[in-house]
Symmetry: C2
Subunit: 346 residues, 2 copies
């Protein structure tokens, strides 16, 4: 089968790999139909994060169950399923507490033969990891594209909102207009936020933020942006979603959070200075986040997608097939696409 492989910064190739098969009785093999390219993969694509050359990439797979191990109870061949970016057993203390990204048996796709951007994947601990799409919706393409972001960015945006303690009536600021930030806007609206201020630097993305529920947008940079937000919020917001991970984004979050407020952060921190910690301290701001346990949120978010009240699919502004994956990475790197949908075997 073919799968996308990392060959160094800026170099993703489609290469032939052995077909996956059931190795353990809790495995499932899935024939991938949809997957995606993630902004978090730009860190290694740009050489800003180490990654082993030859490793498979991708971590947002959706597809049809092909084969199931003897101990798998939750899915059968032919089922439409998707998988979060983290593999989790579903049985340990952390999985049961809704923190599947701390699963004691957890793994990530990059450690396996196929990372989700390929024709087939082996899913370990399938009962804990996979989410089954109800049969009624299993072949509806629009629904599937709206569900696909639940593998990562929609669950991650929701995690930022949950970590920032967003409740009905709140004023919320979302730092970052990438796919996660846009999903953060959707999540904040879904949780009942009354005012949502989206911060970013791209007009088209901020337009989408407004479509998603932002009541105001701030596109300036640096201190100017901070002042604008602090004016709009009369001194800072009680709920800030930091959806980037860059040092400037963390500093911005610390400077726009209201004293006693909450920052939910979900971008992998790429920081050197600890300056923002002094700001957090001075303000008694709470700082909470990490890799989103998107598996924990899958059912509730899927329910909203299926009833038509949640649709993150507009974030897919470009679609490629398997052979187009290298082109898809380049488009995201150059910010030509917010997020790239990959259709496979279709």
């Amino acid at each position: 089968m073919n799968a996308a492989i990392y060959r160094g910064p800026g170099d993703i190739r489609i290469e032939d790999r052995p077909d996956p098969h059931i190795e353990e009785s809790t495995d499932v093999v899935v024939r991938v139909t949809h997957t995606a390219i993630c902004g978090s993969d730009l860190w290694f694509y740009r050489g800003e994060e180490d990654r082993e050359t030859g490793s498979p990439v991708g971590h947002e797979p959706m597809g049809i169950v092909d084969a199931v191990g003897a101990d798998v109870r939750s899915v059968e061949p032919g089922d439409r399923v998707f998988a979060p970016f983290a593999i989790s057993c579903g049985e340990c203390e952390f999985c049961r507490n809704g923190l599947q990204t701390a699963c004691v048996n957890g793994r990530f796709w990059g450690d396996l033969d196929c990372g989700g951007q390929g024709e087939q994947i082996r899913v370990p601990q399938a009962d804990g990891t996979l989410v089954r799409v109800p049969d009624r919706y299993a072949d509806d393409e629009d629904t599937l594209q709206a569900l696909l972001p639940l593998t990562d960015v929609m669950g991650t945006g929701h995690h930022a909102a949950v970590s920032a303690d967003v409740s009905p009536g709140d004023t919320v600021v979302v730092v970052g207009d990438g796919a996660v930030g846009l999903c953060g806007v959707l999540a904040a609206r879904r949780l009942g936020a009354q005012r949502i201020i989206a911060m970013g630097h791209h007009d088209d993305r901020l337009d989408m933020a407004r479509d998603f529920g932002a009541t105001a947008t701030v596109s300036s940079r640096g201190q100017q942006a901070i002042e604008e937000v602090n004016t709009l919020t009369h001194g800072g917001a009680n709920h800030v979603l930091e959806c980037v991970g860059a040092e400037s984004a963390l500093e911005t979050a610390a400077q726009i959070v209201r004293p006693g407020g909450n920052i939910g952060y979900v971008g992998v921190p790429h920081i050197e200075s600890s300056e923002f910690v002094s700001q957090l301290f001075a303000k008694n701001a709470s700082f909470t986040g990490g890799p989103a346990p998107v598996r924990a949120y899958a059912e509730e978010l899927m329910a909203d997608v299926l009833q038509g009240t949640l649709d993150p699919s507009p974030i897919f502004t470009k679609t490629v097939d398997l052979d187009g994956i290298p082109e898809g990475y380049a488009a995201m790197d150059e910010r030509e696409a917010i997020k790239v949908l990959v259709t496979v075997n279709t």
Copy 2:
């Protein structure tokens, strides 16, 4: 009147200062009877933090009301009162939400003519700032010494426990065996923690931690200490009180918190590396704290002191009079005393 003045690192002097008087109608003048020396003042005493030479020091005053401004409603001359380390109006958004250290009209004692270590102080915004000791207890020396830590360290230890979300039955780790850490142990026990592990490097202080309710102590350093705590807690504690502020303490806290757990931090961060943030992120640990709003906690903690169920006074292991303040700083700097009580005008 005489007051303690900062004259440079390691140099605190008792100098003559103008007697304070009512300047605004919301002021009170207090004749100081008790005050204390704080571990947080060791940062400037050791030259590790800038402070203007000639500035008054101290921020934990207790005494008798001498004069009141025309608009003061809550105290009268002759009342026994104490004041938190932060002055607060009691009327703004943040004061009403229990975050008096973010008071929009707030000030700190060091900005005034007397910092709390002197014969008299002017207390601005007295209705918001001062706490009155009920008359029945106003002249009981043991009670007063048990109440004095509510001006800072007891409220700060409590804030660490509240920020770390300590609830009945919890397992708690307290990082630091200074006065705040010891008060953190008291606070965790008071909030119902079942297991309290105190970390520190001084046997006498860890003995006091046991007296205060710690069920275990860890006195080793570095990675060894982290491993011991992670063994005792089977993989980390859900509630960690960071009561130091040094980089090593923050790193320790990040390495002993359980995934999904809570760190409450109250030591002013003195850090350069942001390494611990990656640990927080990987674990989805919540990181919350800042300057403790001890005014918000004064009534509930005082109630416990007055009914005899809370007594932080053993942290005062040395007592000096006003002229002995320089000696008191030296004793704390050399770790000969946990915390120094200063008796004035008695």
